[in-house]
Each structure stands twice: as structure tokens, then as C-alpha cells.
């Protein structure tokens, strides 16, 4: 049981896929200009990763070693297509905002990394927990970055204005750079910086 808990918790902190392993950066920069798409993206990745982990973990003893990458890709692609269709059906605006990045979950390094490193070697329950943990670890970073970017870049959260009008009248302005990908990279860098400063064991020699 403690093993499962550890599997779930380490990706949220000390072995975070984005902040520590530095995977999935591309989508983390692209979809974090607003909070809503970032959360949807984080949840989509979590669902796909959890299900793909379970499927691959169940099949792991029957997959021939030489074609395992193709099998993994087929599983992930199927799940991505399903999620993409569901988003189009029930959350069309968000799916437009996410544009190609839902489809590009297939190429997200976190997925291939977890499938190769974990699901191929562990049982379905462990894999499910690992998938949810890593997906949420990715989602947390996305939400933090998107929170900062939307608050300072547009003065809103989930599209609702947070920064009061009186501040704008006093001369405050939204920072346009926050809405551009370079600033997302800098914020991400700051998160990594903070994590490493707090956990010295993460620093390379």
C-alpha cells in the first residue's frame, strides 16, 4: 500500500515529469496562456496516460519486444482520438483553443516515457496509479504557469476579471509578454529553480 502511495506522490513532487525530468515542455509553453485550456489539457493527459498505462500493462507480456513502440503508439493514438472527439462534442471552445495540441499528446514525451519505463514492467493497478500521478504532476505545473500568465497577462482567471478596474485607472497595465511563450519558459525556469533550491538532492554535481 505504501508502495502505491509512493508511486502516486513522487511524480507530484520530487520526480515531477515537467519540473524535474523536463519532459512535455512544448505543450506546457503552448497551452498555458489561459487557465481553462491548461486544466483541460492537464486532465486529458492524465486520462490518456492512466488508460494507456493500464492497457499496455495488461498487454505487456504478449507484446513482442521489437514492435513494442508501435503497439504503444497505437494505444495512445486511439485514446487521443477518443479524447479529442469527446472534447469536440462537449467542450468545443476549449478544443478550438487547444487546437493541435490535443492531437500532439501522442508525441508527448511523458507518455512514451511512462509506458516504456513503468507500464512495461509493472502490473495494471500500479500502472494506473503511476499514470494518474504523472498526469497530475504535469497538470499541476500547467496550472501554476497558466495561473501566473493569465493573471498578469490578461488580468483574468477562467475569463473572469480579477484585477479591479480601479487599478487599471491608476495606471496598471497587463503585461503583454506574459501571453507570449518566452515568458512561459521563464516562469517554468523559475519553478524549476525554486524546486531545486528547496530540494538540494535534485541538483546535479
Amino acid at each position: 500500500m505504501s508502495n502505491l502511495k509512493e508511486t502516486f506522490l513522487t511524480p507530484l513532487g520530487l520526480n515531477n515529469p515537467v519540473a524535474v525530468q523536463v519532459l512535455g515542455i512544448c505543450s506546457a509553453l503552448a497551452v498555458t496562456a489561459q487557465l481553462e485550456p491548461a486544466i483541460v489539457m492537464g486532465l486529458s493527459v492524465t486520462i490518456i496516460l492512466a488508460l494507456a498505462n493500464v492497457v499496455i500493462s495488461l498487454l505487456r507480456n504478449t507484446i513482442p519486444n521489437r514492435i513494442r513502440i508501435i503497439v504503444q503508439l497505437v494505444v495512445v493514438a486511439t485514446l487521443v482520438t477518443i479524447v479529442s472527439e469527446v472534447l469536440k462534442a462537449f467542450a468545443y471552445d476549449v478544443s478550438v483553443a487547444l487546437s493541435v495540441y490535443v492531437g500532439l499528446i501522442i508525441t508527448n514525451c511523458i507518455l512514451m516515457g511512462r509506458l516504456e519505463a513503468f507500464a512495461m514492467a509493472n502490473g495494471p493497478v500500479d500502472s494506473l496509479v503511476d499514470g494518474i500521478g504523472n498526469g497530475l504532476g504535469y497538470a499541476i505545473i500547467l496550472v501554476i504557469v497558466a495561473f501566473i500568465r493569465e493573471l498578469f497577462g490578461a488580468g483574468t482567471l477562467f475569463g473572469f476579471q480579477i484585477i479591479p478596474d480601479c487599478l487599471y485607472e491608476a495606471g496598471y497595465m497587463n503585461c503583454g509578454l506574459m501571453l507570449m511563450p518566452p515568458m512561459a519558459l521563464i516562469i517554468l525556469g523559475c519553478i524549476i529553480w525554486a524546486m531545486r533550491a528547496k530540494n538540494p538532492e535534485l541538483q546535479e554535481k
Binding site: G171, Y172, M173, C175, G176, L177, M178, M180, I186
Partner: protein
């Protein structure tokens, strides 16, 4: 001088380890080494040590900036009185004092924020205070429009000092010119306060000096910079704020809208002479920026364009308008972010000139290209150096092997 030295010696024990004010050790140290060349000597081997250390070098650059600064102050006042139509009644001192009061807060904010961060970091890491911000702090107010709000300058300065300098390891380790990063941040984060035609002329009276232009009392003036006018207009004719055409002579004198320090070629050239005579800046970089810019501008001018008037600007005008001179003299020659090899300096400067004019002519988004050109070439400075050092090594190896 003697009294100052004695005073410093008297209060020094308070700042040393265990003293009452040891928390401010780095601040004291910074001021002491700024006022007097430190008399520390090397303990091993034989060294020849020049007393011109980097704090003295920085001071020379600040001195070289003073003509541009003073002229910028006068120009701020001049533009305000010109637009209000009261230039005839105002005395020189009134005009200058208004500009002085308008520019001074920007200098204070830039130094307070930048030095505040530097002092904090130095104290925190138990290091000596680094002197690099002496120059950056003076450059920053000179490369922003007069109507740029103070809090925005403070945010941008903090951003640049932390992300362009401190995280690279402080003065001497930064890849990019700190003052230009400040400007780039401002430019992309708050474009409405950094470009367009409403930010280049001071609009509020200060302590009864100057004229209030904000509430529509005066209309019918254009506040765009020369480059802004050409980029959006249909001719290459540049006008002053009242609509009278200005020629090359006026561009060289510089009584026209623009960033505070960049308008006057004469003031900048006085600074350039100070830098070159004192040996602080390198003439190779400076000359090659102008050569690169002139050649490229000449080329674009020769091709010509029906739709984009920037192409049709004369090469002389290209070099005189906007931030070209200022960038070439004070930014491109920054010894930290430019190459060390002499051949590298030629290439570096030449490409800055070329890229600056290309950006001016070929991008539809913003009229000025000097900032981005210098930042781009800063990135390649180390590579240029590497190529030339490697070439020299190979050449000497060949010579040795063929002996």
C-alpha cells in the same frame, strides 16, 4: 578628499564582521571602492596592476553619457513647449529645468531598483558589490520614451537585472546587454507605452513648469518619431511635432521626438569621443556598425520600394534617426557582451549594422531595429570569438608543422 578618507576609515569598523552595521557591509564596501581605488595587492607572483579597475571604467562611460543626458533633458522640455506654442516666451532655463524634472524620476527609479537588487544579492551571497549597474542604470532612462510610467520601468529593470544578469552570475558574465533587455522587456510587455505617437512628448506640467497637454488643450500635433512617421507614412519626409518638415541637419542636432537620449547625434558623438580617447570603448566595433548600417541602407535605398518608405530613406538619414547612433556608441561597444578578438569586433559590429537596417526595412511590426540587432549579435559574440581563436590556433599549428 583627505577628510573623506578619514571619515571612511573611522566608520569602517562598524561595518566589519561583528560590527553594529555588519548587515550593510556590502553597501559600505561598494561605496568605499567606488570613491577610492581599493589598495588590495596580490600576494603571490609578480603582477602589474592598473589602478583603472572596472569601477573607474564604468565611471568613464557614465561621464560619456552626460552630454546625451543633458541634451535629452533639454529636448524633453523643448518638445513640450514647442507643442504648447509657448517656446518663444520660455527661457532656456525654464525649458531645461522642466526636462530635468521630467527625466530625473526615471533615473532615480532605475538606480534604486537596479542597485537595490544588486546590493541585496551581494549581501546575500557575501560577495563584493558588482559595479555593472552604474552604467545600465544610466542607460535605461535614456532609451525609454519620456511618457513611460515609472512603475513599468521599475518592473522592467528588476526583470533585466535578475534574469539577464544575476542568474548568469552577475557583472561580466551576462550574455545580453542588461539595458537592452530592459528595453526589450518593456517593448514586448507594454507596447502601447513604448511605441506609437503618444508617448514621446511629455504631457504634464511639473511644479508649474512646462505645459499640460493631456486634457486636449492643444491638438493637431504629431508625436511620432522620425522612423515611426516614415514607416507609417507615404513619403520619406519627416516632420517635427508641429508638422514642419525637418532635414538632415535637424536630425543631427536632434530637437525631435524620440527616446530621451537617442535623438542628438552631436551629443552622442561627444560621448563617443570621450569613450574612444579614454580607451574604454573599442573603435573597431563602433566604426564597423556604422559601415554595416550605411552599406545596407545604401543597398535598400538603391533597390527602392513603392509601398515601404523606410527603404527609400537616404543612408545618412538612416544612421541619424532612431537609436542607431546611440546603440552603436554605447550598446554595441559594451565590453562584456561583444567579442574579445579584434577581427571578431569587426564582424560583430558590421553585422549589427546590417541586421538593424534589415529589421527596420523588412519587418512591418515596429519601426526600430537597433535594439533587436544588438541583442541578436550579443548571442553570437562568443561564437564569433570561438571561430577566430580557433582559426588563429590552426594557423599557428600549421606554421609549426611546416617548419
Amino acid at each position: 578628499m583627505k577628510a573623506l578618507r578619514n571619515f571612511l576609515d573611522k566608520v569602517k569598523p562598524n561595518f566589519e564582521e561583528g560590527g553594529k552595521l555588519s548587515a550593510f557591509r556590502s553597501v559600505f564596501d561598494g561605496f568605499e571602492t567606488f570613491l577610492f581605488v581599493p589598495n588590495t595587492v596580490s600576494k603571490s607572483g609578480t603582477h602589474i596592476h592598473d589602478t583603472i579597475d572596472s569601477k573607474r571604467v564604468m565611471s568613464f562611460v557614465v561621464i560619456a553619457l552626460i552630454p546625451a543626458l543633458l541634451f535629452g533633458m533639454y529636448n524633453v522640455g523643448y518638445q513640450n513647449y514647442l507643442v504648447a506654442g509657448t517656446l518663444d516666451q520660455a527661457s532656456f532655463m525654464e525649458v531645461f529645468c522642466y526636462g530635468f524634472l521630467a527625466v530625473l524620476p526615471k533615473i532615480i527609479v532605475s538606480y534604486l531598483v537596479g542597485l537595490g537588487i544588486e546590493f541585496t544579492v551581494a549581501q546575500w551571497k557575501h560577495e563584493e558589490i558588482q559595479e555593472g549597474f552604474l552604467v545600465s542604470g544610466m542607460l535605461i532612462p535614456l532609451i525609454v520614451p519620456i511618457e513611460c510610467p515609472l512603475w513599468i520601468i521599475a518592473v522592467a529593470t528588476a526583470f533585466a537585472v535578475i534574469f539577464a544578469k544575476e542568474i548568469f552570475g552577475g557583472t561580466g558574465y551576462n550574455i545580453f546587454n542588461v539595458a537592452l533587455i530592459t528595453r526589450a522587456f518593456l517593448f514586448f510587455a507594454y507596447p502601447t507605452k513604448m511605441s506609437g505617437d503618444s508617448v514621446w512628448i511629455a504631457k504634464e506640467s511639473i511644479f508649474g513648469l512646462g505645459n499640460d497637454l493631456a486634457n486636449g488643450t492643444v491638438d493637431g500635433f504629431t508625436g511620432a518619431t522620425a522612423l515611426g512617421q516614415v514607416a507609417t507614412g507615404s513619403t520619406t519626409t519627416v516632420t517635427d511635432a508641429l508638422g514642419n518638415p525637418v532635414g538632415l541637419n535637424d536630425m543631427i542636432v536632434g530637437l525631435m521626438p524620440g527616446s530621451i537620449g537617442e535623438t542628438s547625434v552631436i551629443a552622442i558623438m561627444i560621448g563617443a569621443v570621450i569613450l574612444l580617447v579614454s580607451g574604454v570603448a573599442n573603435w573597431r566595433t563602433m566604426i564597423s556598425v556604422f559601415v554595416g548600417g550605411a552599406l545596407t541602407a545604401f543597398l535598400f535605398n538603391a533597390i527602392g520600394s513603392e509601398t515601404n518608405q523606410v527603404w527609400n530613406l537616404d543612408w545618412m538619414e538612416h544612421l541619424c534617426v532612431g537609436g542607431f547612433c546611440f546603440g552603436a556608441v554605447f550598446m554595441a561597444t559594451d565590453p562584456v557582451t561583444s567579442p574579445r578578438t579584434n577581427c571578431g569586433k569587426y564582424i560583430f559590429g558590421f553585422l549589427i549594422g546590417v541586421v538593424a537596417i534589415i529589421i527596420r526595412c523588412m519587418n512591418p511590426g515596429y519601426p526600430e531595429g537597433m535594439m533587436l540587432a544588438i541583442l541578436l549579435m550579443n548571442l553570437f559574440a562568443a561564437l564569433i570569438d570561438h571561430c577566430f581563436v580557433q582559426r588563429n590556433i590552426n594557423k599557428r599549428l600549421n606554421r609549426l608543422n611546416n617548419k
